[in-house]
Point group: C2
Chain length 340, copies 2
C-alpha cells in the first residue's frame, strides 16, 4: 500500500499508535498545532536539529527504513550528548515521495521508536509533506540540563588532555565497504561491526551526562564530521590549539582489517571520515582518575582513550602520525559547501 | 558569489552576524552542538515544526528569498498562536542547492529576522546541508505558555459560536493571480493586498495570546489548510459538529475582485484554499462582549467575524452557502497524500 492511499490524517493516526503519549512530561502531544511539554523545574531547555537528505546523507540501497529512523534520531541525540544534557522530546518532519510504501513509513518509525525508548525520548510532534524528489528527514530533539553543568566546545585549557569514547573510523570503514561493494569478502563479524557503526550509531548520552554531572570535562564535542574537525572546533572555541597523538587513535581490529583489505589508511577514516558519533572531550590531568568510572559504564564498558593534549599555540593542530612528522590538520573534515 | 565558495563555517558566521545572541534567554546560541535556552519559570514548553519543499510549498519564480524567510517563520509562529502561546526561539534547517547565491542566503535570513524581531523570536540554532535537488527549509519554533491557558482544538461545546480573525481566501486568491499570470491586470492595491496575504502572511500571535490569557475561547486552530478542514479538526477533536454560515465568511473586496476577474467563487478559496494563517476559534456566547477588545487590537484593529456554531450532531459540517442548501464539507481541505 502506498502513502497516497492514506490521508495525512491516517498517517498521523498511525504515528499516534506507534507513540502513545505515555510520558507525563507531554501535556499536549501529537495531533494539535503544537506540542506542549514539561521540563523539570530549574533545568534549561536544550535544542538541536539535523536535516538528512536522500542522496547526500543516506542511500536507500544501503540503509533500511528501520535503520534510517534509528539513525535520524541518533545523530540528534549525539548533539544532546555533546552538551552533557539529557534528551526528552523529538519532532520529526518528513518529506515523502508519493510512491512511498506505508511499510517503509512504519519501519522508519519503528526504528525511531526503538532508539527513543532507550533514552526516554518521546516523539511529540512533526510535519509530513510530499516531496517531489527524494526523501527528506528533519529531526529536532529537545532536552534539558542544569545551567551549571552545560559543557560546550569552549572551555579547554592548555595542558588539558584530549580523550575519545569508543573507536574511531568504524563508520567510514562501514560506508567504504558498502560503496566498494565488498560485502561477503571480509569475516562476517568484521562486516557486522562496521556496518552497525555506520547504519545504527549508538549515541553516547550516558557518557555525556557523566562528564557533565561529575564536572570531569572542560570541553565536549561529538564526532560527527571527523575527529580532526571536531578537535579543531574545540581548539578554536577555547582560544587554544591541540596536538593529536596519531599513534594513539583507537582503531578497532575490524577497522584495521577493512583498511588492509581496501588498501586504505584507517587513520584517515578516523581523522576525516566522520559519523562515528563518539564523544571527544578535554579534561584537566587531575581528573584522570575519574575516567575509571566512565570506563565501567554500560553493559560492555566504554573504552576511553587519551589521544592528545591542548596547547597554548593557537589554531594549529598537529598529528604525529606519519613517521614522526607533524602534519597540520587545518584543512580536514567534511564540509557541505566547499569544493573538495 | 555562490555558497560553494564559502565553507559551512563561513555560512554559520554570516548567520551569527545577522543574529547576535542578544536575548538574555539564550544561554548558548548558534555555533555549538545544541542551543541552551531559558524559559520563564512555571511556563511549559511549546514546540512545532514545518517542512517547506521547493516545488510543493513554494515556487522561486513567485516568492523572493526575503519573503520565503519571512513565510517559513510565519507559518510556524501561526502554529504557536494557535495554542495561545508566545514564541521564543527558532531553529532553521536548510538544504541548499550548490549553485545557491550567498545573496539569496542573506536575503532569506533578513526576511526571517524581520519577522522574528516583531515577535521576540530569536534564531538559536539549525543545520545547513547541501541538497542535490531543490531548496528544503525546515523551521522549528519553540515557545512557552502557562499550563492553565493552553488552547487546543478540543474544547468546543455545542452552542459555542465559531469565529475567525481577518479575511479568508486572500492567500489562495494571491496564489491564483500568480499561477494564472494575471499581474498588472487588476487594480494595484488589489494585487498588493492578495500577494502580501500569500507571500508575507502575518501570524496572529497577539490575538492568540489574548484569547488564551482572557479565557475567551474554548477551542483554537489556525487556518493553514482551508477553513473547512480547520473547523472539521475542531469539531472532531471536541466530539461535536459545526455549521458554517456560508454567507458570513469574511471576504475582502480584493478577493471578490480577483474572483470576479478569474471567474472563481471566492467562497471556495476561503473554504479550501488554505494558507490564510488567520485564527479560527470557538467561544461560549456569553464571552461575545470580550471580543470587542480583540477587535481593537493592533494598529489597524483586528476584524473578528462570527461564521458559525458548534452543534451536537457529530462529524457533520454544513454550509448554507449555495442558495440555502446545506453542503457537507467532509471532503474539503488540502491533504498532502491523498489523490485529489
Amino acid at each position: 500500500m502506498q502513502l497516497e492511499e492514506i490521508s495525512e490524517y491516517g498517517l498521523v493516526q498511525r504515528i499516534i499508535k506507534h507513540f502513545p503519549s505515555k510520558s507525563s512530561r507531554i501535556v499536549i502531544g501529537i495531533g494539535d498545532d503544537a506540542a506542549v511539554l514539561s521540563l523539570d523545574p530549574g533545568k534549561e531547555l536544550v535544542a538541536t536539529c539535523d536535516l538528512l537528505i536522500e542522496g547526500i546523507h543516506f542511500d536507500l540501497r544501503y540503509i533500511t527504513p528501520r535503520q534510517l529512523g534509528w539513525k535520524a534520531l541518533a545523530v540528534n541525540l549525539s548533539d544532546i550528548a555533546a552538551m552533557g544534557a539529557e534528551p526528552c522530546f523529538a519532532l520529526v518532519s518528513l518529506g515523502l515521495p508519493h510512491q512511498t510504501e506505508v511499510h517503509f513509513f512504519d519501519e522508519f518509525f519503528q526504528g525511531f521508536k526503538t532508539l527513543g525508548e532507550r533514552f526516554q525520548t518521546s516523539l511529540c510532534g512533526g510535519d509530513m509533506v510530499s516531496s517531489p524528489r527524494g526523501l527528506v528527514v528533519n529531526v529536532t530533539v529537545l532536552g534539558q540540563i542544569e545551567a551549571s553543568n552545560v559543557l560546550t566546545r569552549a572551555g579547554a585549557k592548555p595542558g588539558d588532555l584530549l580523550a575519545v569514547t569508543g573507536f574511531l573510523g568504524s563508520s567510514a570503514a562501514g560506508l567504504a565497504l558498502l560503496k566498494n561493494d565488498c560485502l561477503g569478502k571480509l569475516p562476517p563479524e568484521v562486516e557486522k561491526e562496521l556496518l552497525k557503526a555506520h547504519l545504527e550509531p549508538f549515541p553516547r548520552i550516558q557518557e555525556g551526562r557523566f562528564l557533565a554531572l561529575n564536572h570531569v570535562a572542560s570541553a565536549l564535542n561529538d564526532v560527527s564530521d571527523g575527529l580532526a574537525r571536531e578537535v579543531k572546533e574545540i581548539a578554536e572555541a577555547s582560544g587554544a590549539g591541540a596536538i593529536i597523538y596519531g599513534q594513539s587513535l583507537p582503531l578497532s581490529e575490524a577497522v584495521k582489517c577493512a583498511g588492509s583489505y581496501l588498501k586504505q589508511d584507517p587513520v584517515l577514516w578516523a581523522l576525516n571520515g566522520g559519523e562515528d558519533y563518539e564523544l571527544v572531550f578535554t579534561f584537566p590531568p587531575e581528573n584522570q582518575a575519574k575516567l575509571e568510572e566512565l570506563r565501567k559504564m554500560g553493559k560492555m564498558g566504554t573504552p576511553i582513550t587519551i589521544i592528545g593534549e591542548i596547547t597554548r599555540a593557537r589554531n594549529v593542530l598537529y598529528t604525529e602520525l606519519f613517521h614522526g612528522r607533524r602534519v597540520s590538520l587545518d584543512r580536514c573534515g567534511y564540509d557541505h559547501f566547499t569544493r573538495s
